[in-house]
């Protein structure tokens, strides 16, 4: 049965509506959301309300958490002072706008969702802030899925959709202990095939153009389709300016750049 996975909506209502229409038109009933419903975009209440009305199961993203817990992203998760200042401004604006009901909804979201051997997270099983980039060290990527006891890991956070299959893995080691007087012992660990599927971003795409992205996964066949959906971008850009958010946010969205550039360090884990 096919199911759709969406992520990183970032308060972009036009993009969410277009993606939901696309999913409906494919006849898919099961949708899972990987968090970051709000942040930077101009319609946080409208987007959260629509997700609640559609009863879409969500896990919590780093923006959702920060809006509830207060701004506690570590500084190093912003790649520059400019990105940090803009992030703080967007955070404050979003926190002021969100209704108490919608805040309570974001606060209720779990860190992970699991269905059999499928695991759904925002960043990585370790942290909502960790980026699993498509070219990160393959062993480190596999360790995230393996340690979380899953076969397929769905994540978002990087805003670039991809499917990565890790296979034919083996690690050989030579072990020496003091208690064992004999020569070193050779051991071998074969690694099972695992998959990481990044759902991209509905509201703040960063894959070379402005289309909203999400993925469709068919559990029976194992196939994954990356969908790129055009939407009424100008409607969102107008809403950004009308909301009093910095016009440069609209410019960045219109050109397919993220509001704050992503942090590139895949191994960075926030230590709070």
């Amino acid at each position: 049965m096919a199911h759709a996975v969406i992520s990183c909506l970032h308060a972009n209502l036009a993009a969410l509506e277009a993606v939901l229409a696309d999913i409906d038109q494919l006849g898919i009933a099961t949708i899972t959301c990987l968090g970051d419903l709000v942040g930077y975009g101009p319609q946080p209440n409208e987007v959260v309300t629509l997700v609640r009305e559609r009863a879409i199961p969500c896990c919590q993203g780093c923006w959702d958490e920060d809006i509830i817990e207060g701004l506690n992203s570590c500084e190093c998760s912003y790649p520059s002072q400019l990105a940090e200042r803009r992030g703080h401004l967007a955070h404050q604006w979003t926190a002021d706008q969100l209704s108490e009901t919608n805040k309570a909804f974001l606060a209720s979201l779990p860190m992970t969702l699991r269905r059999d051997r499928l695991l759904f997270v925002h960043g990585s099983p370790n942290s909502q802030h960790e980026y699993l980039l498509p070219d990160m060290d393959a062993f480190a990527a596999l360790e995230r899925v393996h340690t979380a006891d899953a076969d397929t890991l769905f994540c978002g956070h990087t805003h670039r959709p991809y499917v990565r299959e890790l296979r034919d893995g083996v690690i050989r080691v030579r072990v020496q202990t003091v208690s064992d007087q004999s020569a070193a012992i050779e051991r071998e660990m074969p690694l099972s095939v695992r998959r990481i599927i990044n759902a991209g971003s509905v509201g703040e795409p960063r894959h070379g153009n402005t289309h909203a992205t999400y993925v469709v996964h068919d559990e029976a066949t194992g196939s994954v389709e990356i969908r790129a959906v055009p939407y009424d971008l100008e409607r969102t850009c107008r809403a950004i300016v009308e909301a009093g958010l910095p016009p440069v946010f609209a410019w960045r969205l219109r050109h397919g750049f993220e509001y704050a550039e992503r942090a590139d360090d895949a191994s960075h884990v926030c230590e709070r």
């Binding site: 991809y162 499917v163 072990v175 020496q176 990356i226």
Partner: protein, 236 residues
């Protein structure tokens, strides 16, 4: 050539620490002493040892200390770690152990303990109490090789020295690889990666400690009181 001594699990035992310092003097050629945590413990008053670590006697190697699992528990219990408290300690050893640990250290020593670091990076080596993931991470000779490789990769080092398990061991990643295929909107690409030649070394605890020569990459596991001049059970 410089040689390091790596020690852990003193748990407040000044006599043990003095015995190690004597052992190192007899060995000679050791120029750096790292104490990878667990300076304190619930079983004895740690103040005399902490005093000595801060103010070494003439002729002693100046120790470079990290915090370990026991320090982390005490710092958490006393509010140095935000909301976190010493719940792992409480669950494993009971409330009495939490209280004994607090008794073992004078409040005046807490600022020094709180300033200790999580780890050192020296050359291409990471020196940690547990691992790059957590101070309580118990890496041993039987740990999953995938986990060990991940812990090395996180620090981007070739050698990781760990103390938490209390065991003396060396696990060398000696071969293997992995294939991966990445598909995105731009197309598909294949990546092949080999296992890097890296090593995780358990340094032991208490009387058992480790010598390391970064120039030759030679490791020697020692026990205090081992016959002087013996080279220990070393292997490259």
């Amino acid at each position: 050539m410089a040689r390091w001594a790596l020690v852990s699990g003193l748990q407040g035992d000044l006599d043990l620490y003095e015995a190690i310092q004597r052992d190192l003097r007899q060995l000679g050629r050791v120029d750096t002493l790292f104490v990878l945590g667990d300076l304190i413990g619930p079983d004895r008053d740690a103040n005399a040892l902490l005093h000595r670590l801060q103010l070494p006697r003439r002729g002693e190697l100046q120790p470079q200390c990290l915090y370990g699992w026991w320090e982390d528990q005490l710092l958490a219990e006393l509010g140095y770690r935000g909301e976190r408290r010493a719940d792992p300690l409480r669950q494993r050893f009971g409330q009495a152990a939490v209280e004994a640990l607090q008794q073992a250290v004078d409040p005046g020593r807490m600022a020094w303990l709180a300033a200790l670091q999580f780890g050192f990076i020296e050359l291409d080596c990471a020196l940690l109490h547990g691992s790059s993931a957590d101070v309580g991470d118990r890496l041993g000779p039987d740990s999953s090789p995938l986990l060990l490789l991940d812990r090395l990769t996180r620090m981007d080092v070739n050698r990781l020295f760990t103390a938490r398990s209390g065991k003396q061991f060396s696990v060398e990643l000696s071969g293997g690889g992995i294939a991966s295929a990445v598909r995105d909107l731009a197309g598909e690409r294949q990546l092949q990666q080999v296992v890097p030649q890296r090593k995780v070394i358990g340094i032991g605890s208490g009387l058992r400690y480790t010598l390391y020569d970064p120039g030759s990459d030679r490791i020697a596991f020692r026990t205090v009181g081992q016959q002087a001049g013996s080279r220990g059970r070393g292997f490259a």
